[in-house]
Symmetry: C2
């Protein structure tokens, strides 16, 4: 799994979303330990401080919890994980529809265009 970081948005924000995605998709499982700050930083090719910032922000949402010396755990609350996934999806949909309508596309046109769109990376 690649981190795929680019420079047009803050690195720590991109990292935050990547880890969130790994939890949502089950790559990091509920209740499981996630790699240490230093290991994750090495893996992503960023400074440990940057990784620490991303993880600290993730903690506010409750998806992960830090235990001072034994590392970080993913929450065991599967309902919260599911809710997070749905919330992100709803935001994506809202943003997408708003932008398309700003460009002058009606809902029906948008759906037609989507039906013509290839599946991509499934």
């Amino acid at each position: 799994m690649a981190w795929n970081l680019n420079s047009d948005r803050p690195i720590y924000a991109q990292i935050l979303e990547e880890i969130q995605l790994r939890i949502i998709t089950g790559l990091y499982k509920p209740g499981a330990k996630i790699p240490s700050v230093r290991d994750l930083a090495t893996e992503a090719g960023v400074n440990p401080n940057t990784m620490q910032k991303a993880l600290a922000e993730l903690e506010r949402s409750g998806l992960v919890m830090a235990q001072r010396t034994s590392g970080r755990m993913v929450t065991e609350d599967m309902a919260m994980i599911r809710e997070t996934r749905n919330k992100i999806a709803r935001e994506q949909i809202r943003d997408f529809v708003d932008k398309m309508q700003k460009l002058g596309f009606q809902k029906e046109e948008i759906i037609k265009l989507l039906e013509q769109t290839e599946g991509g990376t499934v």
Copy 2:
């Protein structure tokens, strides 16, 4: 029409997109003169240099052209304007579908969710 600028992306990039949108939607019409750098900067509440940067970048795409002292004009090439609109729409669709599939949604699910979505600001 509001500019609606926020701080989580470069101001000049948001301005660029807003002006592009005004051309695409016909608020700034083909061949028409657009307000001066200083006027636009005042309207958007940003420094003239920031507005200048956004306009200079927009110029690379050919949507607007600067005439040293008589101001800036929107291109008269309506095909180019239409093409720009379609290109942006294609990018939006691609990004949206990719993100949703990363979250684990199949194409059919995405379309179902969209059908349940309200029209919004039409």
